[in-house]
Symmetry: C2
Subunit: 407 residues, 2 copies
Amino acid sequence: MDQLPPTRERQTVGTTMRNCVVACCVLFLGACSSAPSSLRGTADLATVIARADGQVAILDTTAHQWTGKVAGLGDLSHASIVYSRNGQFAFVFGRDGGLTKVDILNQTIVGRAMQAGNSIGGAISQDGKLVAVANYEPGGVRVFDSQTLDLVADIPATIGKGPDRSKVVGLVDAPGNRFVFSLWDSGEIWIVDFSSGTTPEITRFENIGTQPYDALITPDGRYYIAGLFGEDGMVMIDLWHPENGVRRILDHYGKGETRLPVYKMPHLEGWAVAGKQAFVPAVGRHEVLVIDTDSWKETGRIAVHGQPVFVMAHPDGKHVWVNFSVPDYDTVQIIDTESLEISGELKPGTGVLHMEFSPRGDQVWLSVRDDNKVIGYNPYTLTRFAELPLPSPSGIFMSHRAGQTGL
Amino acid sequence: MDQLPPTRERQTVGTTMRNCVVACCVLFLGACSSAPSSLRGTADLATVIARADGQVAILDTTAHQWTGKVAGLGDLSHASIVYSRNGQFAFVFGRDGGLTKVDILNQTIVGRAMQAGNSIGGAISQDGKLVAVANYEPGGVRVFDSQTLDLVADIPATIGKGPDRSKVVGLVDAPGNRFVFSLWDSGEIWIVDFSSGTTPEITRFENIGTQPYDALITPDGRYYIAGLFGEDGMVMIDLWHPENGVRRILDHYGKGETRLPVYKMPHLEGWAVAGKQAFVPAVGRHEVLVIDTDSWKETGRIAVHGQPVFVMAHPDGKHVWVNFSVPDYDTVQIIDTESLEISGELKPGTGVLHMEFSPRGDQVWLSVRDDNKVIGYNPYTLTRFAELPLPSPSGIFMSHRAGQTGL
């Protein structure tokens, strides 16, 4: 276990970029306008990214149909979504630096900011007041008021004393109104603490490893884990004890043991924690790794159909579902978390990019890109109960994420 | 470990009671009526029971104010609430056998059934289609269509071959569209499986122990645990393996070691599972027990201020909050789950009956009955940020429960 001491500094809010942010605030549409006029709850709604068209489709998981679509969201390759505290608004992080606030009930764009040139995901604070975006160009994190999309804090990811900047990856929210993210170019992890207001306290962990490329936070918000592209192993921070620094885990994880070309680095947000085990996609291998979440050591490997991309736990913890990179992306496999054996397999179509369970686990929805479909399955019987057309669907995001740390 | 083999039978839907059910269906109010006309999400709403008035108050946890109140719900002593799949409807289980469906957006009663003479809680199925109520008189469970409140199944809790019936307690939902409950009079646990439709398959576990009085299900829906009033210890069923029968745990838990009068049997739904530990209110003692959730054995005891009633985990797992029975019900204590020490204490007022965290844990709300107040605290700083008047408040229910197994 390496323990690297953090450095700490207080950073004032950057205001220079505020004027560069193009924020167009569309008036809130009253309920008595057109189609979406009846009051309805949001707990059974989801959003699905339609990558080719720059659209987001809104899914009613009870009626098994789209309630509507919202267009004009720019480049949605590798886009992701977080939700407002009340579940009404989806914040869509586009690849082109666009941050769009979509009202999923009125089905309108209520705000949009081209806040950077190139972005990779974002997060919403525990209190719901701040939305943070991870940027490649210019490298750093920008933090916005979730109500107005006004810039609240600009945090350049400076390398050393600057002026060079790093690309930012693996941005998540953490308890205590914190954000945590990694710096690709300089091998750092930063904790940015907004618990005292809009002027963050920043803690930098330097020399954590080479090229962190993605990260995850455990569902309770305690452990932040980053994957390294430039070397084997991963790094972990216990956010209950940031003073203990960074710990290396899974020294054999990564490129060193790769025997196959890596078609796609697996998504770390796809780690499944079920009971006391984590299920982790191996890099470039046809395997899912089993990790004990007490010791954070590997306890087993499960042979699977292809190179895993997402490994998602069913909410009941009994099964995890795995999809694969090209050329095996027509298949989904189901692992029994007790026997660690493959207990089921589906061939939903070509290009299964993402999977999302309903909060209580009665449904699972799959995006099948090349077939231009989103398919709903009963995860117990594996019967297909819905098949909805959508051009090039990718990420699926249940609005239940509004109440889930790190999502 | 005792393992009792289950018996199994298939039971047809009881229809005789259908005509006795008084279900008044109020027309769905359109959105363009009066005050609550703007579309809004439900993820930040909660409901609070105002026991003295037979009312439910609807709390906006973002604006820190009531959005409205709905009256006419009958006897709400010991009342509880579950939510519809979309978060719009609260099903209120009254002590007088009343089942009321409240639209928390339009703030109206949309259905009400006096479905029994005396009831004790209920549950909603994993797929959201069925609402089940646990009845004392007549003893059994009645299951209703969540849309219409039509009776779908009547399950008398027969003792042996009948005709005598048992009071039913500890009713919860479980994965696989199951309900699980306990029979006070006959010492049984039943699993009722609705996965094949509205005709349930019933599995009976007999001779589980004397007078089960309440139960809980772990957050993943795997373990059902019932407390025994008539003897020491508890009983547990692993719902992944019901064929293994019932296991006895915590043999010393309960009355046998009581040295103080028991003012109130603790709520088992108040068990907090944080990481790999469960925190359990001791019966009649000024202690919280610490249980290892691998072995289900007691690993520690924490001395607290009074007889604990609810022990609730903060969503980040770092702390659990404890309230107490009379005469100590002016106090709330906070336990650090790592050090197992008391790390904080509050005196919110007289009669702290319930506590509920916001889903991501930025807030905690307390019902202070004798002061006729509901108080919001920042659980990190322990500062009070809201104080809302309400006559005799008791249970607080965040709508996030719509997506949570067992809640």
